[in-house]
């Protein structure tokens, strides 16, 4: 029973936060909201029993990635309130078209799915499964894991190259 309450509580906060993230004008506020959003998402993961993922989420997502965002915002200090360019009408039509599209197709998707509730599923998954994750990560998914590491390496190198000052680029 407690779990349902906390879920709905978290869900409502999450919806509000995600809408806010998209609509707020100042980037700093947006990032802050996004950080909170991540926290509450970590909470939902914990609810679902994925503690390890929750913590990882917090450490990496909130701790590192969004800090990067903060950095960029502080460095660039872009003009905060960018006026909306482009004619409103056209944008609104597309806006509504996309959202209606999403809602319509999601409901169609739900019809197709077999109703799943928590009960009829084995519930032992709830406890800590860090051990099993570690096992599976390094046995079944070793190759994707290596590839991910390669991806990160690539990300690092390219990020450095791209964001270097033009003067430095010349030397390279």
């Amino acid at each position: 029973m407690g779990e349902a309450i906390s879920f709905y509580f978290l869900a409502s906060i999450l919806t509000v936060l995600s809408i806010a993230v998209v609509t707020v004008q100042k980037p700093v506020v947006a990032v802050a909201l996004l950080v909170f959003n991540l926290f509450f998402l970590a909470g939902v993961y914990a609810l679902l029993g994925a503690h390890f993922i929750a913590v990882i989420q917090v450490i990496i997502y909130a701790g590192a990635i969004l800090v990067l965002f903060m950095f960029v915002i502080m460095i660039l200090n872009p003009d905060m309130d960018l006026k909306e360019t482009g004619d409103k009408g056209k944008k609104f039509i597309l806006f509504s078209a996309v959202s209606v599209g999403f809602l319509f197709f999601s409901f169609k998707m739900f019809e197709q799915m077999a109703p799943l509730t928590k009960e009829d599923i084995v519930s032992e998954i709830l406890e800590d499964n860090t051990y099993e994750i570690g096992l599976q990560l390094f046995e079944d998914y070793i190759w994707p894991f290596e590839l991910a590491s390669l991806l990160i390496l690539l990300g690092i190198v390219s990020a450095i190259l791209i964001s270097r000052k033009p003067s430095q680029n010349k030397s390279v």
Partner: protein
């Protein structure tokens, strides 16, 4: 080199020498070359005909080379010399050389005359080809070649647009006739498989029964050849080009449009007489056509003011006589009239030429008059010519015309009517010839002061040929004195049996041409001859009196009374305008339409349309490719949604 090759090569050589190689500035050199070429041709023609008629019993075929060999068709370069063609050879080369001499004088005002003489020689060569050709195609080469030369000669003075137009008109109208000729050739080849006259003659002469299909095709062939003849010999429907052909220099008119070319039709008919005998209905058509043309042209000639136009229409009407002669079965009479006509018409034309030469190229009779004093020699010769043409007994015209009228009278059904019209035309001929004579030579001189001062007698070089022609036109008649008179005077009708071997009656056509041989009473012949001569004398008197004192006098009164008919006649029955509106202008509009609307707009439009259509459709598909990041994203998402929708259904 036998005689035939010589006769053919000399004019050709003359033409090439003058036209392409020499192109000399001096007029005399050009004239000498062409005259010698023509005389040499005449002498070789003489020897040729003498040799053929005496040694080869009147028929010899020269086979030079093979021209076209294609499938079953084989057309050799072969020439047929028989009494008819030798006669024509002599006429062409004889009168031709006389005219060549005359032309030297006439063209003395021109700067360079090599071109003129080259064309004249070329014309003679082509005419020789026409008359000596052994099969249809060689004759056709001559046929079209002659058309070409008349085109070139008529538009000799091409500076004026009028001459160029006249030349083109002549060539095109001839071309219409030639198409008839072509169809006839196709039909004969389809029907008989060969095009040479001798083979056709053998097939037709001794074929006793003719199948119905053969009958029809022969009739059709004859009709088509008639069309060709009309085109070439300026008969009724296609005569319009001859009056305009007068735009060329007078020697040209004399040689081509009087003596030789126009007679080609008659020659062709006599050559194909065995065809025509087998198609009696066509013969009646020919006869009626000839008679109509004769009468029709004579009436127009009554009111013409241009001296050459009058002579032109008189040629058309005399040709009508010849065609009528052939039509009624009297091919011999036709050819005889052809012979006499060649002489006196050439004489008349050259006479008129010397008058025009004297009057510095003015041709309107109204400005002449009283030239008797100024040009005594031309006047005398001209008078002889006039007497010959109107058919005063004793002169050549009388014998040949009378022969035709007699043959026409004996024609079974419509004979007398033909005769009546014939005599009436003879009267008209007398009237307008005398009118011509009196307007130019009698009465006082109406030309303006300037020309009057300069009129002097033509030089000997022009007068000489006139004299010879005058002699010929007077005495040539005695060659074919009709039996009736011949028995009295004792001169045998030499001409009659001269052409006998050429004009044979095929067996199949025996029964419906019997009337040619049965005997007629002399009395009838005498009476006919009497009436026609009286008509002639009446016409002559009227003509002389009306115009004795120039264009005023009685003729004015008549003109006013019959003013409408007079105007009608002067405008040549509006035939030219008729042709113009019926054929030429609509054709012009149609082709304009075809080109402008049909071709440019319809077909081009279609093709360019396809091209433009593609362009538009491609533009549509690229919409507002703004490059905006987010527009791409939106379409991307919409695309996914659509795909999703489709996929999930």
């Amino acid at each position: 080199m036998n005689w035939l090759e010589m006769t053919l090569c000399f004019p050709l050589l003359g033409a090439i020498l003058n036209g392409l190689i020499l192109r000399s500035e001096s007029k005399t050199l050009a004239q000498i070359v062409s005259v010698t070429a023509c005389f040499l041709a005449f002498f070789s023609a003489l020897f040729l005909s003498y040799d053929v008629l005496t040694h080869h019993e009147g028929l010899k075929v020269y086979h030079l080379a093979s021209w076209i060999e294609a499938g079953s068709l084989s057309v050799p370069f072969s020439f047929l010399i028989d009494p008819l063609s030798s006669l024509m050879l002599l006429i062409i080369t004889g009168i031709g050389s006389l005219i060549h001499i005359y032309a030297g004088g006439y063209m003395s005002h021109e700067k360079t005359t090599y071109r003129f003489f080259a064309y004249l020689n070329l014309f003679v060569f082509m005419m020789l080809l026409l008359v000596t050709g052994e099969n249809f195609l060689i004759m056709f080469i001559g046929w079209e070649g002659v058309g070409l030369c008349s085109y070139l000669l008529i538009s000799y003075w091409f500076e004026e647009d009028k001459n160029a137009k006249a030349g083109m008109k002549a060539f095109l109208v001839n071309r219409i006739g030639d198409i008839g000729f072509l169809f006839a050739v196709f039909l004969t080849f389809k029907q008989f498989g060969t095009l040479s006259f001798l083979d056709l003659k053998n097939i037709l002469l001794n074929s006793h029964t003719l199948t119905q299909e053969m009958q029809n095709s022969i009739a059709l062939i004859c009709l088509l050849m008639l069309v060709a003849a009309c085109g070439k010999s300026a008969q009724l429907p296609l005569y319009v080009w001859l009056p305009d052909a007068m735009a060329g220099p007078t020697p040209v008119s004399a040689l081509i449009h009087a003596a030789t070319m126009v007679t080609a039709g008659v020659y062709m008919m006599t050559r194909l007489s065995f065809f025509y005998f087998l198609a009696p209905q066509i013969m009646t058509v020919v006869a009626v056509l000839g008679c109509l043309t004769a009468f029709f042209a004579a009436t127009i000639a009554l009111v013409q003011n241009d001296i050459k136009k009058v002579l032109a229409y008189s040629t058309v009407s005399q040709l009508g006589y010849m065609v009528m002669g052939c039509g009624v079965g009297g091919f011999g009479a036709g050819v005889f009239h052809l012979l006499t006509h060649a002489c006196f018409k050439a004489l008349l034309f050259l006479g008129a030429g010397s008058v025009i030469f004297a009057m510095h190229h003015k041709q309107d009779m109204m400005e002449m008059g009283g030239l008797k004093k100024y040009l005594p020699k031309t006047h005398a010769v001209f008078l002889l010519g006039v007497l010959a043409i109107i058919g005063v007994p004793g002169f050549s015209g009388f014998f040949s015309k009378d022969e035709i009228l007699w043959k026409a009278f004996n024609y079974p059904v419509i004979g007398p009517y033909l005769w009546a019209f014939g005599t009436l035309t003879a009267g008209c001929t007398a009237f307008y010839m005398l009118r011509l004579y009196t307007l130019t030579f009698c009465g006082e001189n109406r030309s303006d002061h300037h020309t009057k001062k300069h009129i002097e007698e033509t030089p000997v070089i022009m007068w000489g040929p006139l004299a010879v022609l005058a002699f010929l036109s007077v005495f040539i008649g005695f060659v074919g004195v009709p039996a009736v008179i011949g028995d009295l005077v004792g001169i045998p009708n030499f001409f009659e049996h001269y052409l006998e071997p050429v004009i044979k009656m095929p067996h199949a056509a025996e029964e419906n041409w019997h009337f040619l041989r049965d005997h007629h009473s002399h009395a009838l012949e005498w009476t006919l001859m009497g009436t026609s001569t009286s008509f002639v004398l009446l016409g002559a008197l009227l003509g002389f009196n009306f115009y004795k004192r120039g264009p005023k006098g009685i003729s004015l009164i008549l003109k006013k009374k019959f003013s409408r008919t007079h105007k009608f006649l002067t405008n040549k029955y509006y035939v030219d305008e008729f042709y113009e509106n019926i054929f030429v202008t609509p054709l012009q509009e149609m082709s304009q339409f075809l080109w402008k609307i049909f071709d440019l707009i319809f077909i081009n439009g279609f093709i360019n349309g396809v091209g433009r259509g593609l362009m538009i459709s491609s533009a549509l598909s690229s919409w507002k490719n703004s490059g905006g990041l987010q527009t791409y994203a939106v379409f991307f998402v919409l695309g996914c949604l659509v795909f999703l929708g489709f996929f999930l259904k």
